[in-house]
């Protein structure tokens, strides 16, 4: 059979989101791949130039709708760097708590999408069941389950509700028991290991060259976690370990899976510590209305390095907002991961890369 291009998508049950992956297959082996993105392009950078600084938080929430607090927080961080204001300590701790809860929710959504991709349809319902608990926590905290509009430039929107630490403790205790079940469902399954080990390998140098960040890079053995490298908020005072793949040859789907999976446990630890260490005091500082200068903030999003580069020119709205999305860069590296594998591995690889089309297409 000659080589021919197959379109996987845009309407496809596997592609979580709307994008197209053209793979050139020869029999069952992939020889080349070309992703086509842009189906969800909403023109964020242009819209954000017309709205005031604070009003853009509503938009940044919806950049990646699965993990919204992390994106709004990155935007607020960049604005604060530009305006040179300091967030009070309590506000920083509340931000850390909300970020980690959102990170767990985002990773659970990834898990819920990855299981059915491989055929494990039970994983969908179990992961979504746990995600409900964390979405309830977010609802307690900010009033909404998704797209919460929670961070403000200078702090957060509201204080922690009373008894929040008790709710957190309950949820985390329940979640830790369920994590053991997930381990038995995913790790101990020989078929799962057969599907993900050795599949979609990318070497360390290639990964760094192509701009891959986040758990995908840590799976290759590079110890880069922007919460430790450029600590923002109060991450210096929190004791957690960035999950790096320490085995021999990383960079395959299984390593990416393990790194992301172990981050769930780490985020639970962070939440526990943050809820105990939080001081009292103000949680929001007043932000000026007009700002001039450049603000540049990089955070560790659920999927990698989220970077906001904002230029203000003295007006009450930004002059230029540049959003760097981790999935955008990882998508550029997917042809490398796909080459040489079988066509049945496309799902396994792309699922382990954790694509969220909202942030890719802006």
């Amino acid at each position: 059979m000659a080589e021919f291009w197959v379109n996987m998508g845009p309407q496809h049950p596997m592609t979580h989101g709307l994008w197209n992956m053209k793979v050139k297959i020869d029999g069952e082996t992939i020889t080349d791949a070309a992703p086509e993105i842009g189906y969800l392009h909403r023109g964020y950078e242009k819209i954000m130039e017309v709205r005031e600084f604070q009003k853009n938080v509503v938009l940044t929430d919806r950049l990646c709708y699965v993990s919204s607090v992390t994106w709004s927080h990155a935007y607020c961080l960049a604005c604060e760097k530009m305006m040179e204001i300091e967030v009070p300590l309590r506000g920083q701790w509340i931000r850390v708590i909300s970020l980690e809860i959102q990170r767990i929710a985002s990773h659970l959504m990834w898990l819920a999408a990855y299981g059915p991709d491989l055929g494990l349809l039970t994983g969908l319902l179990w992961a979504l069941r746990e995600r409900e608990l964390f979405l309830d926590l977010l609802q307690l905290l900010s009033g909404a389950r998704m797209n919460q509009n929670f961070p403000r430039i200078g702090g957060v929107r509201n204080d922690l509700p009373p008894d929040f630490d008790k709710y957190c403790a309950k949820v985390i205790k329940h979640f830790r028991e369920k994590l053991k079940e997930y381990e038995r469902l995913f790790h101990d399954s020989k078929i799962f290991l057969m599907r993900t080990q050795g599949v979609g390998r990318i070497s360390r140098n290639e990964a760094v060259n192509w701009g891959v960040t986040g758990p995908n890079l840590r799976a290759c053995g590079v110890d880069v976690d922007f919460r430790r490298r450029e600590p923002y908020e109060t991450y210096e005072e929190v004791d957690f370990e960035p999950q790096v793949w320490k085995g021999g040859d990383g960079g395959d789907s299984y390593a990416r899976f393990m790194c992301r999976f172990n981050e769930l446990e780490e985020s639970c630890r962070i939440i526990e510590q943050a809820v105990k260490k939080i001081p009292s005091g103000p949680y929001r500082a007043k932000a000026p209305r007009r700002a001039e200068g450049e603000g540049f903030a990089r955070t560790e999003d659920s999927r990698g390095e989220a970077l906001f580069y904002i230029i203000g020119d003295g007006d009450d709205r930004p002059y230029r907002v540049k959003i760097r999305s981790p999935v955008f860069c990882t998508m550029a590296a997917t042809p490398i991961m796909l080459r040489g594998n079988k066509m049945a591995d496309v799902v396994s690889i792309l699922g382990s890369v954790d694509v969220c089309v909202g942030e890719m297409d802006k």
């Binding site: 021919f4 197959v6 996987m8 496809h12 049950p13 596997m14 069952e28 299981g115 059915p116 991709d117 491989l118 055929g119 494990l120 349809l121 039970t122 969908l124 319902l125 179990w126 069941r129 469902l185 399954s189 078929i191 799962f192 057969m194 599907r195 079988k342 066509m343 049945a344 591995d345 496309v346 799902v347």
Partner: protein, 428 residues
Amino acid sequence: MSGALVSPDLFTLCKVLLTGIMKIQSDAILAGAPVGSPVEPLRGIAYFLMEDWFLTFNAWMIAITIMVTWAAAIQLLTMMWIERKFYSRLQDRYGIMISIWSLPFWPFSWWAKRRNKPTHRGLGYLQNVADGVKLLQKENITPANADSAMFHTAPVLIASSTVMIFAALPFSEGFVIANMPMSLLFILAAFSIAPLGILIAGWASNNKYSLIGGMRAAAQLMAYEIPLLLAVVALLMYAGSLNVLEIVRKQETLLAMVGPIPIPAWNVFSIPQFIGFTVFLVAIMAEMERIPFDIPEAEAELVEGWLTEYSGMRFGLVFGFKWLRALAGSALVVILYLGGWSGPVFVTLTPSVGPTVIPIPIIPHEVWFLLKVYLLFLLFVWVSWSVPRVRIDQILNIGWKRLIPLALLAILLAAYFAALGPALGGIR
């Protein structure tokens, strides 16, 4: 061994009942139209109703209808219901719950209100009927450049070959339509026509995905036919006959007594057959296209694989007959290895005259058979919904490189034991 409910034979039972009914009708007509009345020609009908060929023909028709309805309608619904309820419980949710109390018209809504029954907490058995009706009313789309004749033939092939299995598949000693001397061969052959239909469907759909799915299905199903048949060969050295009824009859003897519990001589309890049992189980799971072997219709990758282009009732036929094949496969496993329909005897009757002990069918053979089939199917569903999919080259790897040597080992051991077993004191 408890007795069968349908005895001695489905056809005989139907004929006896039919003869009785026809005799009553015939006598009524004869009585109502005496000689010499103006409706005397009606007596011809009475004589016609008692003709032998008429009774035989109708008895066959009724027997076949009963079997097909029993298997393809009631059993199909029950298998679908078991699967849906069970896997939803695995997934920590209730599952299908629309019951007869949800029907919005009288008398059901009236009864529900009277007894204070909620409309959404039922068994959910009728949900599958509703799904079937939904599929019936959908538009049957034929793709533009598809090979129309082959496209329409493929679901017919699959469905008809699956129903053909039930001509020879017994549900108990008497509940069988055709008791052929080589019925096992016929069943396995009918089981294997479906891959041809799948290949035709994949090719004729004129769709890259369907083609890939069809090729994968052909490769997988062909690869797993061989261990299936080899395991059956290992079994034949014991049973000595291809007749399914014979195979079950051989398993009804007593093997040993463990305390007060008698262990029957099921084929799974003997060593070479146990290897054959595992091989057969894995091979039949691959033949039934269940997860972990459902790459041909893998949802995540190929939309529906070889049945992407089918819509409406054609899809319903193909999709629904997956469960019928599951029923046939589980029934095969139960018949060959798990003792078929034999169950323990609870009450016996010893007539004062006559040599034998007559068992009273408190739980008849059909019930034992169905119980075993459902339990085995439950096992299949459990495994299906707990493990991810295996990749196609890994599937073929398992089929060719792991299962065939095991099956050959089973044949070797079975031959050894069958030849030397009686000399070595009856080791099985």
